[in-house]
């Protein structure tokens, strides 16, 4: 670490100039944002339908009334999200590893994994939910759960693992082949090389897209409401139908945003840390 040395006159002048430019940029950005916000506000509120829209979509009394019901629905969303995400990560990783197995003897395994990915990336999530949520109980098999939340979570895990498997596979294939060669030449077996060398690097490479899929899953969890469970959006819909007022939907939207903003910031922090590690700063 270099101790602070006094700056030469030229360096001090340059630093002062850069500071003044930074101050000017901030001021310009602030004024520009203010002008834009005021213009947008004026455009929206001077529309003739604005009082009606404000009463229908932004009614504070209704928002307060519907908050407990929507929060209760959101709790179901969060529980299913945590379980589904864990399941998705595990199944996705397994499928990705199966797909990247080398050697002709593993061809059936690779083919099955590819077929699984193709099928479940192709089926819309809603249809998968209907087929699994209503179709599986109709088979009346012994020991198969009838609970809609469990079935819905399974359908979500099956569908999302297909996407996440591809993300993991991209990560695995992005690790330079020299890493595998080096691991093998050190005497590690295939499995050990995968576990100790390839996978840690692969997962670090694809953390941003993984977190992206996590945020997408937060919204799609709400689809289990078609099976009868009451999640945040369904709770908002029930409140809305009582009074024909759409404010509960706005409340649900805000709660979802609050849920996904920390994930976005964590994703940024993780990516920044990864960059720092890589460039050695």
């Amino acid at each position: 670490m270099i101790k602070d040395v006094p700056l030469s006159p030229l360096a001090a002048e340059r630093a002062a100039f850069r500071r003044s430019r930074a101050r000017r940029s901030t001021a310009v950005a602030f004024v520009s944002t203010l002008v834009f916000a005021v213009a947008l506000w004026w455009a929206v509120t001077s529309a003739p339908g604005w009082p009606r829209v404000q009463a229908t979509f932004f009614d504070p009394a209704r928002a307060w009334e519907s908050l407990p019901a929507v929060l209760e629905g959101l709790w179901l969303n969060i529980r299913v999200l945590v379980v589904a995400e864990l399941g998705v990560l595990v199944v996705g990783l397994v499928v990705a590893v199966l797909r990247t197995l080398r050697g002709p003897v593993f061809f059936p395994v690779r083919a099955l994994a590819t077929a699984y990915v193709d099928l479940f990336r192709g089926i819309p999530v809603l249809i998968a939910l209907y087929l699994i949520g209503y179709g599986v109980p109709a088979l009346r098999l012994q020991g198969v759960p009838n609970d809609v939340v469990v079935l819905g979570t399974c359908a979500l895990i099956l569908t999302y693992s297909a996407y996440v498997a591809e993300v993991f596979r991209a990560g695995i294939e992005s690790v330079h082949p020299s890493q595998r060669a080096a691991a093998r030449s050190l005497g590690l077996s295939h499995g050990q090389a995968l576990r100790l060398v390839i996978l840690p690097q692969a997962v670090r490479n694809v953390l941003p897209p993984l977190l992206n899929d996590f945020v997408a899953l937060q919204k799609d969890v709400g689809l289990i409401s078609v099976l009868g469970a009451v999640d945040a959006i369904r709770a908002a819909q029930i409140e809305q139908a009582r009074s024909f007022n759409f404010t509960p939907y706005v409340v649900a939207a805000l709660l979802f945003v609050l849920l996904s903003v920390p994930t976005g910031r964590i994703a940024d922090a993780v990516a920044a840390r990864g960059n720092r590690r890589r460039s050695g700063r």
């Binding site: 834009f36 213009a39 009606r52 369904r234 009074s243």
Partner: protein, 286 residues
């Protein structure tokens, strides 16, 4: 600023200016004077000379038949043409649009003159839409299939421990929550079709629907369907269906007057008898 920066700022200002100009308020048409009477066949409808009526898709029995409102068969389909007739619009001057629930109640301009889709009248909802005079008194009913835990229930107390379901946004769901108040949270479905499927799968024990729909579902759609019983009417004004019009519609008075005339002339009772009479009597739950 250098030339490129100035160009970008000018472009942004132009875009903003265009957006503001495009969002300039459009003058609203003056609402018609509703006290001027209801000239037959010449009302201030959406399309002059044509009465546009809306309903949902799919449109269920016994309110409509074959998911086709133009047949005139089914209680609400027949009622729609009867109201149109009273207002001076023959069958050839009635056009139908299919509008989902949310689109019918949202605050923007509507694509219909009035909407018939088993909407229950409530004071809370009057803040958002206009309702015509009521055309049917609703009773809520619990249905199930033979062999379910609630198939032999005769009191509401026996239903409290059951897993029941209803369609979202219906007064059936409200009745389920308020009058039965089950200990397990009720299952809420997008449509009655999903609820029926769940009932057949054994995922729920019973469904709450209105009485005519209950009779139709148990007789024609569910295998071994069974009506458990009617829920008692809540004290105060009975639950009633009314046509939905946009708030402040000039047609509300005319449509209400038409419904009232159909009621006093006995035509409404005749329609009920024709389309909802198989809705004989169902046992009452205590």
């Amino acid at each position: 600023m250098n030339r490129r920066a100035r160009l970008v700022v000018a472009l942004l200002a132009a875009v903003l200016g265009t957006a503001l100009a495009a969002c300039a308020p459009v003058p609203e048409p003056e609402p018609a004077d509703s006290a001027a009477g209801c000239p037959k066949g010449d009302l201030p409808t959406l399309t002059p000379g044509v009465l546009t009526i809306a309903t949902d898709q799919p449109a269920y029995e016994p309110w409509f038949t074959d998911d086709d409102p133009t047949t005139g068969k089914g209680f609400e389909s027949a009622l729609a043409y009867a109201i149109a007739n009273e207002l001076g619009y023959g069958k050839d001057r009635v056009s139908w649009v299919r509008v989902p629930f949310n689109a019918a109640i949202q605050p923007g301009p509507k694509s219909f003159d009035f909407n018939l889709n088993q909407f229950s009248i409530s004071e809370e909802r009057r803040a958002a839409v206009d309702f015509s005079s009521p055309y049917y008194d609703v009773k809520q009913t619990v249905i199930t299939i033979a062999g379910s835990p609630v198939a032999d229930a005769t009191t509401i107390a026996e239903l409290k421990r059951a897993r029941l379901g209803a369609q979202v946004g219906t007064t059936s769901l409200d009745a389920l929550n308020e009058q039965i108040a089950p200990t397990t949270k009720p299952a809420v479905y997008s449509t009655n079709d999903d609820a029926k499927l769940a009932l057949q799968n054994g995922q729920i024990d019973g469904i709450v629907v209105d009485l005519p729909t209950a009779f139709y579902i148990t007789s024609a759609e569910l295998e071994n369907g069974k009506i458990v019983g009617q829920l008692p009417a809540s004290p105060g004004t009975p639950e009633q269906f009314g046509a939905v019009l946009h708030k402040g519609s000039p047609l509300t008075g005319c449509v209400s007057a038409a419904v009232d005339r159909l009621r006093t002339s006995g035509a409404l009772a005749a329609l009920e008898k024709q389309w909802l009479a198989s809705a004989g009597t169902a046992p009452e739950l205590r």
